[in-house]
């Protein structure tokens, strides 16, 4: 495991009972401190890859190391190094946003033996969420919009400063303004505090703007990997979206 890479995914295969093959040999190397994007259509294997890295699913074959820790052999240790925010964000409907943030931050940092950082991280998460105190302290999460829930989830995921923050479609379903704000929060905070972020999105422009490197995934396989500029130039495209479409077209041509 190279010290420059906080996440190493090697030849990941995932076959679900019933013969559905979701991943067919995915490999990724995510440099420490980078923002890394996984781009692909629905059903390409993005969420399955994330869930395996986050110790929710077990791979059929292959290896995942998070900061040098094997997620299958030492899932608890791996979870001390990562935070996962799924695409379908939620929140306990009977807890306020502030109570939720305190619960997850305290649990996470206590497990890491960083109890002394709890108060600071809770304040940080509340600030990062951008929610007014009225919403954070008075409203239960059951009354929150999808965007508010997502801001709370991303905020705590960054504020605990994990080695790896996995954000599955962090801006999906949000309006333009909310997406923009959240993207800026992720970028600023990750860069400022050296948090490695692995994220997915359907929004190619967002990925091009945000990510240091991207991997294009299709039918459970990585079909292209590099900086957005490298990929755009390789396909002679004007942006990542166009490059992605050309990459797919060339694959279909080969097929």
């Amino acid at each position: 495991m190279s010290e420059d890479h906080v996440l190493l995914v090697e030849d990941l295969v995932k076959e679900f009972p019933g013969g559905v093959v979701a991943l067919r040999g995915v490999s990724l190397r995510v440099p420490r401190g980078s923002i890394y994007g996984l781009v692909g259509p629905n059903g390409a294997g993005k969420t399955t890859t994330f869930r395996i890295i986050a110790t929710l699913l077990r791979p059929t074959r292959g290896r995942v190391l998070v900061d040098g820790v094997d997620v299958v052999r030492e899932p608890l240790e791996a979870r001390k190094r990562l935070v996962y925010v799924p695409e379908e964000v939620g929140g306990y409907r009977r807890l306020t946003g502030a109570e939720y943030i305190r619960f997850v931050v305290e649990t996470y940092l206590s497990a890491r033996g960083e109890v002394g950082r709890v108060e600071e991280a809770v304040r940080e998460a509340m600030r990062l969420s951008g929610l007014p105190p009225e919403d954070l302290f008075r409203k239960k999460m059951g009354e929150y919009s999808k965007g508010m829930k997502r801001r709370v989830q991303v905020a705590w995921a960054l504020a605990v400063r994990p080695q790896l923050a996995i954000l599955d479609e962090p801006t999906s379903g949000l309006d333009v303004e909310a997406s923009y704000e959240l993207r800026r929060t992720i970028e600023r905070y990750a860069r400022e505090h050296g948090v490695t972020v692995l994220l997915s999105s359907h929004n190619m422009l967002e990925m091009e703007y945000l990510c240091d490197r991207v991997a294009l995934i299709r039918s459970g396989k990585i079909v292209e990997e590099g900086t957005p500029r490298e990929i755009v130039e390789k396909y002679g495209a004007s942006n990542l979206e166009e490059a992605y479409m050309r990459a797919i077209a060339s694959l279909e041509g080969e097929g």
Partner: protein
């Protein structure tokens, strides 16, 4: 006109309801439960019938050195029964030890004459044992007609211990109540535990929770503890309410009946008198152990449900078997069987501890604790596996496969 629009509306509502698994369960469960109980109630009825006919009961009609007239009375009574023998004995308990099932011991020197019934009881047929005094008193009255007025008093000899009939009846009543009362804790505990899992899935918080760096066992324990605390509070509220209601009723009875009922009520021995601190502690521990198992099983089954309501239905599946052992009290408890090691029997044996002793209760409690811990370990294992995430999908796939199989047929 109204009928024309009502028909499709009712049709739609019925289709929605009858395709709901919880509704189907609600409809079918009573049939399954009651028909399943048929053998138990059959056994109860058989015991009562046997008691009425004194079937298989060996009776000694005894008195200490009876005179000729007294002997005639004894023979008159013996003539009313099939297996009765007149015996001259001054040691009625000795006759029970010799193997008589019932000893009717007459004391003609008291005024009026007194018949003391000593009945050899069996825990395996307690209903029959408790029905015998009434049958035997009836026979004595019938034999004496109007000419002899005999008062009766009954004692039951159970495993060498002599119980007054009233005491045994009270203990049996208390055991029956206690063996059912644990459901006040088990049902809410299982339902709340399953709801806690279902809510995580419904509120889409399960994945974040499961990626927090805490052992899944701790998550399971935290949910079980929360469900148990709420269940105990619910049970305390229910029992507190019942107690208040009963006090209200007995206060009204005292007002109408004067001081006599109050005196009787205060003379009635308390649960502590029958059970002792050890018995009650064993019962409380048994309830906790059974509830822990119910909540663990409910959460385990609930993992396969995609909604909170579905998960709560799981609680019913986990708790219904807990009702069966308490029914065994009515039908008879096989003393030599391994029943006490079976799940959900710990509260039953603790409830019966004044009758069968504390040792079987403790053995049953130890077994139940192990079973509860095994259920918790199984739940932890499931939470650590993919099932925690893919449970509902696994269930859907299984249903599709079953559907395909049915289609092929």
């Amino acid at each position: 006109m109204a009928g024309g629009t009502l028909r499709p509306l009712v049709g739609k509502e019925l289709r929605s309801l009858l395709r709901e698994p919880t509704v189907i369960a609600m409809i079918l469960l009573p049939f399954i439960m009651y028909s399943g109980m048929a053998p138990l109630y059959g056994s109860m009825a058989r015991q009562a019938a046997e008691a009425a006919k004194l079937q298989g009961v060996r009776v000694a009609i005894a008195a200490c050195h009876p005179g000729p007239l007294e002997r005639t009375v004894l023979e008159l009574i013996a003539g009313q029964m099939k297996n009765a023998t007149v015996v001259d004995s001054c040691d009625p308990l000795g006759l029970v030890r010799e193997g008589y099932d019932v000893v009717m011991y007459f004391n003609f020197s008291s005024r009026p004459p007194k018949a003391v019934l000593y009945i050899r009881g069996r825990i395996s047929s307690l209903m029959k044992t408790l029905a015998l005094p009434s049958t035997l008193s009836g026979i004595i009255k019938e034999a004496g007609r109007e000419r002899i007025n005999v008062t009766t008093e009954a004692y039951i000899v159970l495993d060498g211990r002599v119980w007054s009939y009233q005491d045994l009846n009270s203990v049996f009543g208390a055991a029956m109540t206690l063996s059912y009362a644990m459901l006040f804790v088990l049902f809410p505990a299982a339902s709340l535990g399953a709801a806690l899992i279902g809510a995580e899935r419904e509120e889409r918080t399960l994945e974040v929770l499961f990626t927090l760096p805490v052992p899944r066992r701790n998550i399971a324990i935290a949910k079980a503890v929360a469900a148990l605390v709420a269940a105990v509070l619910a049970a305390a509220s229910a029992l507190g309410g019942l107690y208040t209601m009963m006090r209200g009723i007995s206060a009204s009875v005292r007002v109408t009946a004067g001081g006599e009922t109050a005196a009787q009520a205060s003379a009635a021995p308390s649960l502590l008198h029958y059970y002792g601190a050890g018995g009650l502690a064993a019962y409380a521990a048994a309830v906790a152990a059974e509830a822990l198992m119910a909540v663990s099983l409910a959460m385990l089954i609930g993992l396969f449900a995609s909604t909170m309501r579905g998960a709560q239905s799981a609680a019913v599946i986990a708790v219904v078997p807990a009702m069966l052992p308490s029914l065994l009290v009515l039908t008879g408890l096989p003393q030599t069987s391994l029943l006490k090691l079976a799940p959900y029997t710990a509260t039953l044996y603790a409830a019966l501890s004044p009758l069968v002793g504390l040792e079987p209760a403790l053995q049953s409690l130890a077994a139940q604790l192990l079973e509860a811990l095994a259920a918790l370990a199984l739940l932890t294992k499931a939470l650590e596996s993919e099932v925690a995430i893919t449970g509902p999908e696994t269930l859907r796939r299984l249903r599709r496969r079953l559907g395909a199989l049915r289609g092929r047929r």
